[in-house]
Symmetry: C3
């Protein structure tokens, strides 16, 4: 199934509309190209509906939200819903400010979001109205561990049920769940947390996977998470002496560029719960 998911991206070259932050936007574009998709970034009120109309999916990321682009997110989201396009929300920093929390909650309430992808603290903030976010990173206190895994899976499924969205939580252990089924994924490396925007990159790429696999969105979301984590492992194995987080960023995107179904199928480490 994973094989099929990534191969469909390369075959269909899905065009993804991104309303995203200016910190990691270049990497998001390059990851979308690396996985076989095609990115377009547009956030002006006067074009977002039209731009989203020519795309297959919409990736909304609130990493550097501001009053203008927030309005564009709602406009584009509603148009995407109208057209039956896939919509992903990355609630970057939810919990770090009321503006972020409220914007994310309002987006979920007013727009049909296919996937919400964030770290555990962001998702807890949205689900429980609390969560101890430390800026844009998850708080250690919230971390998904083998000990908390059963409870977290139950929590994630419940939140998926409540929202009607697939919930994708990334961290040391990644969880991708709908109300019924949860992929528990153990790819990736802790060093990925030392690169800005691996989460944003994953959100962009995941949107392409959703668009290319409209009938298997849970699997597509899980495949995107496995692809990112596995690329983190492959990229790390290509590191040369003296290289650090900046080169690692390139090596991960490079690994996605070369990823195919066979490599993904072989390297993906997941179970379904």
């Amino acid at each position: 199934m994973l094989t099929k998911c990534i191969e469909n991206v390369r075959k269909k070259v899905p065009l993804v509309h991104n309303i995203t932050n200016y910190v990691t936007v270049n990497d998001v574009a390059n990851v979308l190209l690396a996985c076989g998709g095609s990115p377009i970034m547009a956030d002006d009120l006067n074009e977002v509906e039209e731009i989203t109309s020519i795309c297959g999916g919409l990736n909304i990321n609130i990493g550097t939200l501001n009053i203008n682009t927030t309005r564009s997110m709602f406009l584009a989201g509603k148009k995407a819903n109208e057209l039956g396009h896939k919509v992903l929300l990355d609630p970057v920093g939810a919990g770090a400010s009321n503006l972020r929390t409220e914007t994310a909650v309002k987006l979920i309430n007013e727009i049909k979001v296919d996937v919400i992808r964030g770290n555990i603290s962001e998702i807890k903030t949205l689900a429980l109205g609390s969560g101890s976010t430390k800026g844009v990173d998850a708080d250690v206190a919230d971390a998904v561990t083998e000990e908390t895994l059963d409870n977290t899976i139950a929590f994630v499924k419940a939140f998926a049920k409540k929202t009607g969205s697939i919930i994708a939580i990334t961290g040391a252990i990644d969880l991708v769940a709908d109300s019924d089924k949860c992929y528990v994924i153990r790819n990736g490396r802790p060093d990925m947390g030392k690169i800005t925007g691996t989460g944003c990159q994953l959100s962009g790429m995941m949107t392409a996977f959703l668009v290319a696999n409209p009938d298997h969105v849970l699997e597509a979301a899980a495949a995107a998470v496995c692809t990112m984590g596995l690329a983190g492992e492959i990229g790390w194995s290509n590191m040369q002496p003296g290289e650090g987080n900046s080169t690692y960023r390139n090596r991960i995107i490079d690994a996605i560029y070369h990823m195919d179904g066979a490599v993904l199928e072989k390297g993906a480490k997941y179970e379904v719960r």
Copy 2:
């Protein structure tokens, strides 16, 4: 001639004012530094006229246009015209939304633009009011091929005549033309399309070439296209196993950093028609 064009950039260190998109802006700045120019980015209404005044050229790129920076483009463009500075327009995504198409057309009508540089779909949109842009990439249906070359050269010369601008179209075959003369350039690699912003980078660099070679602007524009394409070839030859589009981006800019007149003269593949 090409030798002279790039050497003039390194000798004169032209300061280029960029009003550009936030997706590829960092690469544009690094390419300008790599080729010997000096970049400044500024888009606020209250400073663009002053900033453009201290520069030699203005690079306008509508890749993530919005209502505020669009007004700045007109202000800066008019000031640059007043001062006799070189102006380049990169109509990113013209055809993908009315806002982009209309903004690009209005810029061409109200500002004297020395060069319009885009992909074939963007240029067709501006010239014919049509063109089948796929987001920010050219549509395959529009591609310049050996079969369509003669007709496309005639089209480009006619559009150059109509606008009074040099037209630079980049793709598998690149065309740089005024009303009379067309450089047909066959440098570059298809893999460059898998990197976000090689077009934006070229536009920034080309502006520096125009500023440094005010009396030979057609040759300067062609030299910039050859430099970018040849850097794509050299960068590719430096790729190591496992490297992909993200590292390729760096290797292309690195190749520009080391490019000199002799390398360019030897590697440039063009004919004049």
Copy 3:
């Protein structure tokens, strides 16, 4: 002392709020992660006070200032002052436009700024109301050389006294001074000037150093300058044939990622005057 300064950053993982330009923002985030800090970027009026409250320090950079984010700089700066947080100002391009000069002066007047970090032309503009800035780069005429060193040290100490801020000037010779004491630092390489944003990166990193070393801010600022310069030397020594400014950017950040107290102590080249 330098050893302690960098080790404190890695131990305390200071959260730094950045209101910065969109050209170099990604590199600023990655450098902050490389040195052991944690970045958050936020510039909307409706969240900057809240975001800065959860951070330890605020890095204000006017590289692409605009009317909205300028107001956010004042709001965040005042809140940071209220909470006793460290504040750094990077007056990018002061002297290149009245808007930049006036904004920087107003920020210094209305906000208690712990460190002002810029190139010599920017600092001269702020101190003397003049200075021959060439865009965002220092003018050669202003350069700090062995001949002008004594006078420049006196000038910098006087400006530090007048403003009550530490003044950090980077260039061929770096100076970090309060009213009484000046670190003269000779790390770094001229090639660093061919990368966009090494100054912005240093400002972000320096803010983390200030936050992690609240009782030794002058030493912390000097340690950050030594770290950046030394990383420039180490990164350069790791360059492979054909690599240029784009890869060099990565190699510098990579070197910071691996920097520890022992390496810094050994490689730092400074005297106190």
